[in-house]
């Protein structure tokens, strides 16, 4: 039964992957009219990657991070710095001149190299989250306290990036850049767009596969064990804090990866993605999709953003914020398993109950089943 369900989930993921993969082709064939919609789907791929990371730490390990925007931005800025230098030909940018700098600052220099950019884009969030995680988890900071600290961290990042405007261009962020493959706007650059799109898709597939493997091996069981009973896990001989640090760091790297891909689609990055509300939005994706399943994170990220894409223009623009807040509350209160939980557990359970009221004789057996699923 168990492998069947997880296979079904994997199948579902492959279908999502196919649908996403077909969308640029459909655009080319004229079936999809709007190129900005396909561009938006590209961003959804990035959001899914960030959501998977958040799901690993919150859904599986039970640590609610409300500050993953920090790592998303770190990845995005690293990539953005590389892309900016590509655009300026490696020389000092306008905003640096305005900020009073006369030559390219030292911390920008490594971003002339693509190789170093990739290394830094993963290493900076990994090391930062590793150090922070080590200090936080070693001191057994848990629950709400951790969530508050994570918010403070992303807020610190936000303030720093704004304060260091000669280096980061403050509020405006890094703009006027093209993607890794060159400009992606316009039908003449469709090839470039496909390059970025399929790169992101391949990364998502890889991240999904890695995460499914991770959650199915003993390591993943241990994450669930930590969520269910941290003390019991310590007393079973595991140094829980180092496991927490490891998964926190891994999820930070996934967020950074997502950010680095995102900037290719978006063409700019600003500190606004480091705000607390943006980090909380990521949590909502996971909550709605279904925490504790990798597929849930992907589904949630895509669906919520699809809704936002369709609703946040025109008359609904003011309502959208309330709507998403409402959806979040309803999900947390009534559908703990999110959409995935609803489809795989709650609906079948209701269905069985309905069937039982029809046919009384099978009631005893069904009751037993109900208990096992509780």
């Amino acid at each position: 039964m168990k492998p069947l369900i997880s296979n079904k989930k994997n199948l579902c993921f492959v279908l999502i992957l196919l649908a996403l993969g077909l969308s640029p082709l459909l655009l080319q064939m004229g079936v999809i009219q709007s190129s900005s919609f396909v561009l938006f789907l590209g961003k959804c791929i990035c959001f899914s990657i960030a959501a998977i990371g958040l799901d690993l730490i919150w859904g599986y390990t039970g640590i609610l991070s409300l500050g993953h925007g920090l790592y998303f931005c770190l990845g995005a800025y690293c990539m953005g710095m590389y892309l900016k230098l590509q655009a300026t030909g490696g020389v000092i940018t306008d905003f640096m001149k305005t900020g009073g700098l006369t030559e390219l600052p030292l911390i920008w220099k490594p971003f002339n190299s693509f190789f170093l950019t990739v290394i830094l884009m993963l290493a900076v969030p990994a090391v930062l989250s590793g150090i922070l995680g080590y200090l936080i988890f070693k001191n057994r900071v848990k629950g709400v306290y951790f969530s508050i600290i994570s918010q403070a961290l992303t807020w610190t990042g936000y303030s720093l990036f704004i304060a260091l405007s000669p280096y980061t261009n403050g509020n405006v962020g890094i703009t006027e850049i093209q993607s890794l493959f060159g400009s992606i706007r316009g039908s003449a650059n469709f090839g470039h767009f496909c390059g970025v799109f399929y790169l992101a898709l391949v990364v998502l597939a890889g991240v999904y596969a890695l995460s499914v493997w991770l959650t199915n091996c003993k390591f993943g069981k241990l994450l669930i064990a930590i969520r269910d009973g941290e003390n019991r896990t310590y007393f079973s001989g595991y140094c829980v804090s180092s496991f927490k640090t490891a998964i926190y760091s891994f999820s930070a790297v996934l967020a950074a990866l997502a950010g680095a891909l995102y900037i290719n689609f978006n063409g700019s990055i600003t500190p606004s993605q480091m705000t607390i509300s943006y980090s909380i939005t990521m949590v909502i994706w996971v909550a709605v999709g279904g925490r504790g399943t990798i597929l849930g994170a992907v589904v949630g990220a895509i669906l919520i953003n699809l809704c936002e894409y369709n609703l946040s223009s025109g008359a609904m623009v003011d309502l959208w914020q309330y709507l998403i807040g409402g959806i979040f509350c309803v999900m947390i209160l009534f559908f703990k398993g999110g959409i995935i939980g609803l489809v795989t557990e709650q609906l079948p359970a209701t269905f069985r109950k309905l069937k039982n009221t029809d046919r009384k004789p099978v009631r005893v057996k069904a009751k037993k089943e109900g208990v096992n699923h509780a």
Binding site: K218, K221, R227, R232, T233, C239, V240, F243, A246
Partner: protein, 262 residues
């Protein structure tokens, strides 16, 4: 000293604990003999669980220390070690309230309890050996949970959770097992079965048990230590303890009342 090593598994030396000015344990001394089943009894709040917390590293003693003499290894001072290091060194503990991993299956619970592979790398690339699988099956058979192997631990009855937690201690083959009220919240038949499991465990392990149920104590105990208000009242065999008039006064006379609380 070498004498002590062969004879005892655990030596609790003059342990005192103070919680925010409240003296939970006062100068507690106890030695646990190897391959015996040693009971700690006493009224609620006597400090029994706290004593176990000290041994397994959950609570730091204000004074005193605990030395552990594992088989074929040099003695260790448990005081000051981290709880996961103590667990890895071969001290297993079952908590008073059943604490199993409710969202994992019985088999997965057992897998996590197995000895070894406790590091991150060890967990990432872990593959269960046939021997370990046999060990899990045998242990589950001992507590009658073999049929529930693939059930979520959260779906087990209260008593079964207690047995699963006991099995999780056994499967790691520790040198010393500590069971905090293994029969708490169980009916008579279940309690009796727990007693049978304990007798089975006793054959292979050194065991410390906290229990309220006197029938249970009579059924299994080799040595009994009575705690009262954080102090050792007396220590002896079951009969010696039962006959003691002070013990009767502070504890047994009020036994019914304490049992009613559970």
């Amino acid at each position: 000293m070498p004498d002590v090593k062969s004879e005892y598994i655990l030596n609790i030396q003059n342990v005192s604990v103070v919680f925010d000015g409240f003296q939970a344990l006062t100068d507690v001394k106890a030695k646990v003999r190897r391959n015996t089943i040693h009971f700690f009894i006493g009224p609620n709040g006597a400090g029994k669980s706290t004593l176990m917390d000290i041994v397994c590293g959950k609570t730091k003693p204000t004074r005193g220390n605990v030395t552990f003499y594992p088989k074929d290894r040099s003695p260790m001072r448990l005081t000051g070690m981290k709880e996961y290091q103590i667990a890895q060194s071969g001290v297993g503990r079952k908590f008073q309230t059943p604490s199993v991993f409710v969202n994992l299956t019985v088999a997965e619970n057992m897998m996590l309890a197995l000895k070894g592979h406790k590091s991150i790398m060890g967990c990432l690339f872990y593959k269960m050996t046939e021997e370990e699988e046999k060990n899990i099956d045998e242990t589950l058979r001992m507590v009658d949970l073999e049929a529930f192997k693939d059930k979520k631990a959260g779906s087990l009855a209260h008593g079964q959770k207690q047995w699963l937690e006991i099995a999780m201690q056994l499967v790691q083959k520790p040198d010393l097992i500590m069971l905090d009220e293994p029969a708490a919240g169980m009916g008579k038949p279940e309690t009796f079965k727990t007693g049978r499991i304990l007798k089975e465990i006793k054959k292979q392990y050194s065991v410390i048990v906290i229990e309220h149920d006197m029938d249970f104590v009579k059924q299994c105990a080799d040595v009994v230590t009575v705690l009262h208000e954080g102090k050792v009242l007396m220590e002896g065999t079951v009969d010696e303890v039962l006959e003691d008039s002070t013990v009767q006064a502070v504890y047994l006379g009020r036994g019914g009342e304490h049992n009613a609380e559970h």
